[in-house]
């Protein structure tokens, strides 16, 4: 991917303003929707949360597009926003979640949560603002599926195969834990 390497190597200040603007818009959207997903002051309905999760995922896909990772963006929308979220909604519909709606946040939980988030965010802001702008060219894994496939099946073959075992374990486990009665 030629263009991606070029845009990466240019420091922030000369970057096209539109890209800059889109980056901040998508990041802001991701953060805001993520927050609303877990902490919505207006509604305690799980379906609303799920919808905000969809928005979070879509805006993250936007971030991927800005990084020229088109394939990843498409997969993100198809798999997460599509398939996984449909499954989530099904589960939410099948469960009776009235109980959950009535539950209130405890001040202590909120306080400690906010504190932890603030500390980690502060740390990251300090670290990132202090770091020099990284001007190294990207590794070139983003972009078209051919490159991705080659890297996946050549350089990272072993982790890829281990992941298949992991998925098998997850499947066996899910069946085992959810089956009504085992013989």
């Amino acid at each position: 991917m030629q263009p991606s390497d070029e845009t990466r190597s240019i420091p922030n200040s000369i970057m096209p303003p539109l890209t800059d603007f889109l980056f901040y818009a998508f990041s802001g959207l991701t953060l805001a929707c993520g927050l609303l997903c877990v902490l919505n002051p207006f509604s305690r309905n799980p379906v609303t949360s799920a919808m905000f999760l969809v928005l979070t995922i879509v805006s993250m896909a936007g971030l991927f597009v800005l990084l020229h990772a088109f394939f990843l963006a498409a997969v993100q929308v198809l798999v997460y926003a599509g398939a996984v979220m449909v499954l989530f909604l099904f589960v939410i519909m099948l469960l009776d979640l009235r109980e959950e709606e009535r539950r209130r946040f405890k001040t202590f939980t909120l306080g400690t949560g906010a504190l932890v988030v603030a500390v980690i965010a502060g740390l990251l802001v300090r670290v990132l603002s202090g770091a020099l702008p990284v001007s190294r060219p990207g590794p070139g894994i983003e972009g078209d599926t051919k490159v991705l496939g080659r890297i996946l099946f050549e350089q990272y073959l072993l982790p890829f195969e281990v992941l298949s075992l992991l998925l098998l374990v997850a499947m066996v486990g899910a069946i085992l834990l959810s089956k009504k009665d085992m013989k």
């Binding site: 670290v127 770091a131 072993l158 075992l165 992991l166 374990v169 066996v172 486990g173």
Partner: protein
């Protein structure tokens, strides 16, 4: 070798289809036998060559071999233990065997991981397997609770680790340990890199149950089925430590040398927290949970001295710890067949009821507490010696040594609480002798042999550990401070 174990897991799953539910235990025997074969032949054939594979992601060196043998051995004992525990599990016995095998596969991969992606993937394989193993007794609330707690905290730790890996990759542009080692001087100035490294350490700290990331250990240890707890206590911890050693000494030895203060602080806190909290415990499994935190403290001490002697001590300590913990949990499995709880009161009068079991338990606990001439004593001694040797360069290490001694004294108290209960705890609730099946018998025999042998003749394992540490990385070895011997 990993392939063999993974395939064995699949074979067990398939074989389950043809074997009648009543005779599923045979599968456990078979799996244990095959695993022993893999241990003997696999290690024999692997012995001469050392090298990398899969474009440098996978490495076979003495350290990897040491840990592979370690994991296979604990896998065999845990399988035998599961056969003993079969009645308690009631359902899905063959799946339990298969999942145990998959967890062992993950550990074998972890022992050879030479890359951050490989490390993450193998750790995830281990963790996901444990999500299931921990909540295996679905009927029991405690088991479900253990599974959920492990799931939530495990997911959080994985998130930290993957974020750290992303930061490391972002600043270093590589995930391979050996390439990181070449560029560490330049990278140690990068704040992003250091933050990433810290986050990865948080993830590993969860695996080894070190102090600030220990919250899950007691509850999960108590709630999970005993064989799962044993595998968690040994396999998961050892996998965490092999990766810690590889990352800290193989990839970034210079940064590690600067971080010895942080590591020392973590070690001391884990040690004191684990030891002090273990004192009032009534449940033996819960006590083992706190003791595992304390032991993570000892092991971290060995890492914090940043010397080959310290790393050798870590490996030896793990070996000794492995046998002792396996022995304790095998006895627990046998006991729980008749009583279903692991309360300390059940151990009352075990000395009269079943002198052999009580004897094994005493031996294992004494080894954990560090009573000479057992294996645990040599492990603690080696760690202390490394710490004191490091004191020559930095006086703060004498303080660490003092804390380690205090921890050992406290541990003597709580381990011997169980021993006292067994011999002087009053009349047993029932007088019936506990029968030991051949499977548990073999497991116990192995453990006892290990504890005594490592205590009396430590040189064999010591030599192996020294080879393993020397082989971590040639480039890294020169960067060690010249402490110890």
């Amino acid at each position: 070798m990993e392939l063999a174990v993974g395939l064995l897991g699949l074979a067990v799953l398939l074989a389950d289809l043809w074997i009648a539910p009543a005779s599923r235990r045979i599968l456990g025997w078979g799996a244990a036998a095959v695993l022993t074969c893999v241990l003997v032949f696999g290690l024999g054939s692997l012995a001469p060559q050392s090298g990398m594979g899969f474009s440098g992601l996978y490495v076979v060196d003495p350290l990897a071999r040491f840990f592979k043998a370690f994991f296979l051995l604990s896998g065999v004992v845990v399988l035998l233990m599961t056969v003993e525990y079969a009645d308690q599990l009631a359902v899905g016995l063959s799946e339990f065997f298969a999942l145990t095998l998959f967890a062992v596969t993950g550990m074998l991969f972890a022992a050879s991981a030479n890359d951050l992606t490989m490390m993450f993937v193998s750790l995830e394989l281990i963790t996901v397997t444990f999500y299931v193993l921990n909540s295996f007794q679905r009927g029991k609330l405690a088991s479900i609770e253990a599974g959920v707690k492990y799931l939530i905290l495990g997911a959080l730790a994985s998130a930290f680790m993957v974020f750290g890996i992303a930061l490391i990759f972002g600043s270093a542009n590589t995930t391979q340990f050996s390439e990181l080692a070449l560029r560490q001087r330049e990278l140690s100035g990068s704040r992003i890199f250091l933050t990433g490294l810290t986050l990865v350490l948080v993830g590993l700290g969860f695996k080894i149950a070190a102090f600030p990331f220990h919250g899950w250990a007691p509850d999960v240890y108590q709630g999970s089925p005993a064989p799962a707890t044993a595998l968690l206590a040994i396999g998961s911890k050892a996998a965490g430590f092999v990766l810690l050693l590889r990352l800290l000494f193989g990839a970034v030895p210079e940064i590690t040398a600067e971080w010895h203060r942080l590591l020392g602080a973590l070690a001391v806190l884990s040690l004191l927290y684990g030891s002090l909290c273990a004192i009032p415990q009534r449940s033996v499994k819960r006590l083992m949970g706190y003791s595992s935190i304390a032991n993570a403290g000892y092991l971290l001490l060995g890492v914090a001295v940043v010397s080959p002697a310290g790393s050798v001590a870590v490996l030896y300590y793990l070996g000794a710890y492995c046998f002792a913990v396996l022995a304790v949990f095998t006895v627990l499995c046998v006991m729980m067949n008749s009583s279903d709880t692991d309360d300390m009161a059940d151990f009352a009068g075990l000395g009269m009821r079943s002198p052999v079991l009580a004897g094994v338990m005493t031996l294992a606990l004494a080894s954990l507490a560090g009573v000479p001439p057992l294996a645990g004593f040599i492990g603690k001694f080696l760690i202390l010696r490394a710490v004191i040797a490091a004191g020559a360069t930095h006086p703060g290490y004498y303080g660490l040594a003092a804390v380690a001694v205090i921890g050992a004294v406290i541990s003597l108290y709580y381990y011997f609480g169980i021993v006292r209960m067994m011999y002087w705890g009053g009349e047993p609730l029932e007088r019936l002798a506990i029968s030991v099946t051949p499977g548990a018998g073999i497991a116990l025999l192995l453990c006892v042999a290990g504890i005594v042998y490592l205590g009396i003749a430590p040189n064999g394992l010591l030599q192996l550990s020294a080879d393993a540490v020397a082989g971590i990385q040639p480039a890294a070895a020169s960067a060690f401070k010249p402490t110890g011997h």
